[in-house]
């Protein structure tokens, strides 16, 4: 089974990470590493993880999100997560308490605004 690769895009000081497909035991750790690698690029002051194209996410993916959040937090960089309304992954995020510790919004712009990264 092939999982689409993520994309890392710079929008000014904000790094937008777009994850895609299923995230599970097989790819979760890799996605975390890749994301953290990109976060060390110069000028990245905030990070937005876009889960709009993720089709499945279990505790392994949750672990990835927490890893990102923890690493960025240590450096004082805010993290926002884009979760579209009605997304199937919303349930697992809620179960695991993500909304309580991370900034969630349905769109990138809303997330950027919330994390103070809006232009």
């Amino acid at each position: 089974m092939t999982t689409p690769e993520p994309s890392f895009d710079r929008e000014g000081p904000v790094l937008v990470v777009r994850l895609r497909g299923d995230i599970d035991l097989e790819n979760a750790d890799r996605l975390l590493r890749q994301t953290l690698d990109h976060s060390f690029e110069d000028g990245v002051l905030a990070l937005v993880v876009d889960l709009s194209e993720v089709t499945f996410l279990d505790s392994a993916g949750i672990r990835t999100l927490f890893g990102i959040h923890t690493a960025m937090g240590e450096r004082g960089r805010p993290v926002g997560v884009v979760v579209p309304r009605g997304a199937v992954i919303a349930r697992v995020l809620t179960i695991t308490g993500i909304p309580d510790v991370m900034v969630l919004a349905p769109s990138i712009d809303e997330v950027k605004e919330l994390v103070g990264a809006a232009p």
Binding site: L25, E26, S59, R91, I95
Partner: protein
Amino acid sequence: MLSEGAAAGPHESERLRLAVEAIGAGTWYLDLTTGAAVADERFAELTGIGPGAVPDGLQRLVDLFFAGDRGAFEEKVRESADAGGVHSMRAMTDADGRVRWIEGWAHPVFQGGGETSGPPIGMIAVLVDVSDRRSMELEHSDQAAWMPRLLEITAALAATTNLPDVVEVLTKLVPPAIGARYMTLRLVSEDGAFLLPVGASALSADRGVRLEAVSIEGDMPITLAVRTGEPVFDVTIGDIVRRMPEFSEQARAIGARDEDLAVALPLRSPQRVVGVMALTVPSSAPLGKDAREFLLSVANQAAQVVERARAFEAEGRARADSEEARGRIELLLKITGALADAVDPADTLTRLADLAVPRLGDWCLIETQEGGAFRSVALASPDLSASAWLEALRSDFEPSRAHYAPVLSSGRALLLEQVGDGDLRATARSEEHLAALRELDPISLIIVPLRVRGSIFGIMSLISSRSASGRRFDAEDVAFAEEVASRGSIALENAMLHASERRAREDAERVADDVLRLQKVTAALSGTLQRSAVAATILDAGTKALGSVRGALYLAEDDALRLLSQIGYDEGALGQQRVLRPEVPNSEEADRPSLLREAAGRRSIVTVRSTEEFESEWPSLSGSWKRLGDQAAVLVPLLLEDSVLGVLYLGFGSPRALSEDESAFLMTLGRQCAQALERARLYEDEHRRRAAEEAARARLEKLHAITETALANLRLEDGLQRMLAIVVDAVDADLGAVVLYDDDSRDFRLKAVIDDDADVHLAVPVEPEGTILHKVLDGESVRAEGLSGSLVPPHPQGAVGYVLAVPLRVSGSVLGWLHVGCRSGAPREGDLADADLVRLAAEQIAVAVDRARLFEREHRIAETLQRSLLPERLPELPGVALAARYLPGSGEAQVGGDWFEVVELPDGRIAAAVGDVVGSGVRAAAAMGQFRNAMRALALEGLSSSRMLERLGDLATGLGREFATAFTLLLDPTTGMIRYSSAGHPPALVLRVDGSTVFLDAANSTPLGVEPGTAYPEAAYPLEQGDTLVLYTDGLIERRGESLDVGFERLRSVAHGQGDVEALVARLIEGLVRAGDREDDIAVLALRFLSRPLRFELSLPPTPASVAAFRSAFTTWLDEAGIGGSDALDLTLAVSEACSNAVEHAGETSAEVVLIAELRADDAMLAVRDGGRWRPPSLRPERGRGFLILRQVMDSIDVRRRPGGTEIRMHRRVGVRS
């Protein structure tokens, strides 16, 4: 005696008046001794000298009439001249100036009338006016001749004071005056029936005339005169003799002749005829008119004088009598008065003697008789110098003594008018005595008995002495003496009565007091059932009644007297007091005298009246007596019939004697005390006996409770704690513990303890070495007191003051010990001192421990065996839901022979069975295993349910006639039809989906192994989808003492309800099995018939990539099964998590990861197995998120470790498939 002088006046005046009146002329009388004069009116008229005292009366009379004869007159007045008077006649001028011729006579009056001895005592004068007579030609000369004679008689009579004098005057003077030959004077007798002769003229005496009483009825002149009151003048003697011939003799005797006249003159007093004067007058000298008048005048005077003399005599007699009587009455009154208030007999007798002297006698001696002898008790005499005689008399007399014997025998007084010397000699006991009697010189003697209530108790002797009154006693004195004696006796009797009454009253009062006191004591004692209280009551009563200051009560016990109670003594003094100390026989003190032993031995009261008496009687004990400090003592034996229960001791502060009443009271008190003590003893004995019985019963109950506990199916530790609690409670201990040797740890461990303060670590070894308890391990009981400070494990230092430790021994080996104790240094009253009870309890506990250990060992083995023989888990079978539970019995080794089995046959059918091998323990468990294995094999061989039972029966027989029951069945899951058979087993229950229930009891037969070769029936029952079959063993429904039907009904009602089979089984166990009351083991198997499920199964290697593959294939299956939406998403998430976990943790040890999913109705089941060991969830939060997710998306999660790896099994209720 009448005093002449004292009584003269009134009597003389009366006599003179009578004399003056009798003469019938002017009369005057002068009393020469007093100067008093009496005159009648006529005399006063003639002389001018009136009645009453005329000082110069005599002189005037003499001047008036007798001036010429003055000398002769005065001589007659002064001297005892011859009888005869003075006569004169004078012409006098009366008040009217007429000249009157007065003739006067004066005549002296001498003492005694007739006798003219001594000077005259008076002068009587009569004046007659003769002027008229002269003119009336009266024979002046005759009258003048008669007057002197009359006057002489009148004067003589005037002086008479008694009848004999009157008679003498009349008989002497009257006959010569008229020339009569003979005269008698007779008086009418008192009763008026006779005329009694009182005197006669000298003639009669000379002629020897015998005068007799004459009936007043006769026709004699005298009787006629008396009857008619008229004089008789004209009867001749001859007439009388003719009429009364018997008179002739007397007539001759007095010299009367027939022609002589008999004259009878009645003596008439104003009231009556008192007598008669009779005379015989010779015919030669007939009585003229003057003579007759003279006689009438004399008779008149005589009547008056007789009457007067009689009255006078009577009065004199009466006066004398009354004087004497008064004297005697006075004496009697005196005696009575003096004796009336005599309340003491001895004093009474003394007074009586004193009063008798001198009126009754010069000496008075009173003796009383006591026991046959006389004792002088009182003596009165005017002369105290006669004391020598008195002393002589004081000696005892013999009652036979002279003069006494007749008095004593007759009871009458004895008069000895003249005492002669012979009498004295007869009386005297010795010369000395005789001399004393002679000196007394008695003349006369009266001996009077003193009588009280008819018996003579004494003698009163009255003696007159020549040297004193010289009086001679007469009969009257005797009578009076008797009277006095009787008065004295009465007084004495009164005194005695009084004394005895007083004594009686005092006695009665004392008795009443005593009775009251005794009643109080009785009342107090009646409510007393303790000896100490009895003693207190008795001591209180005893000391109060006698006014003693102190007291003590001793009880006789074992031949010794022991102090029970005391009041008033200082404890120390009493304790040191040997006299009161209990005496112990056989000790060196045993032969010492003891007041207590004396009282007990004598069975009567022992008194010590004073310290002096004690010291003389009990010299060897005087020291102890002094220490006691009593001045007197009374010891009262406490007698109950013949036995002495003890001694009451009463001590006094001053010398004290005991009266009879007090003794009687104390003896009664002692008896009451003895009775009360005996009652108290009986009560106490009874009380003790009951208490002992009660204690014995209680002990048995306690031991029984221990035995019950030992036999109860409890865990050993619980049982020990409970038994220890019973022991501690039973012996009233504060604390206790059970310590046992632990074979595993090889040291002593505390198994049960009661002590709030104890630091209880049951796991810490208890080290007996170094404590007093180590000796217990040698098998001895250890009892120790005063342990303060010593350590008794597990109690804190100093917490135990007393301990009793008993080894727990079985068959000679010591398992440990039991000890109980209290915090104080000594055991309290009660059973803590009762080592026996503790030992018996220890035996029970030891046996219980031993037994429990044996059972525990077997139980462990059997349980292990059974658990290993029962299915580890039920198979997952399509079309049925299964749940089962096995519960071992609650007893020590109550592992039984219950079993069950479910087998899926190759053709898809399901075989199930439940069975029960009778018995318990290892053997039953082993047999059960064989049955189960055999059934499994038989089912796989394809045998029917009945054939399976046949073969199992063979097995039971082969196992040695093992008795067993079993229920077998075969289910076709495609149709739901079951076929079943029962070998003596309770019928399976069908819970129908519609709520009804059915017992499968159509194929019953005998238990296995009963009859070799038994053919078992078979029955069929169609299950519908959702029906649940419950198979069970009898432990589920049976309860002791209850019908099986009740158990069936209970099962039916408890089984009814919602939920899956697991919930059903849980409900059955909870609802039907009572904790702690499970004797038998229990097996339950529930089987629900379902439709055949949708099943998914996939095995993949344990790689991360497999997780997505499992998800993918599972999602496809779900989609095909019509599960979508959140159900599908959640189930997929669960599969992903579970598989991830399996991949991640199984690691290289596992060949594959298996995912199984089943959909049955609304239930989705997921199972993921791996070959690795399950590890508990990581403590890191991100590692635990997988389970967090699983718990959120699935309804139940069950992780099971299996020999080959780990399985996670989950269910989720899913929506109706589309």
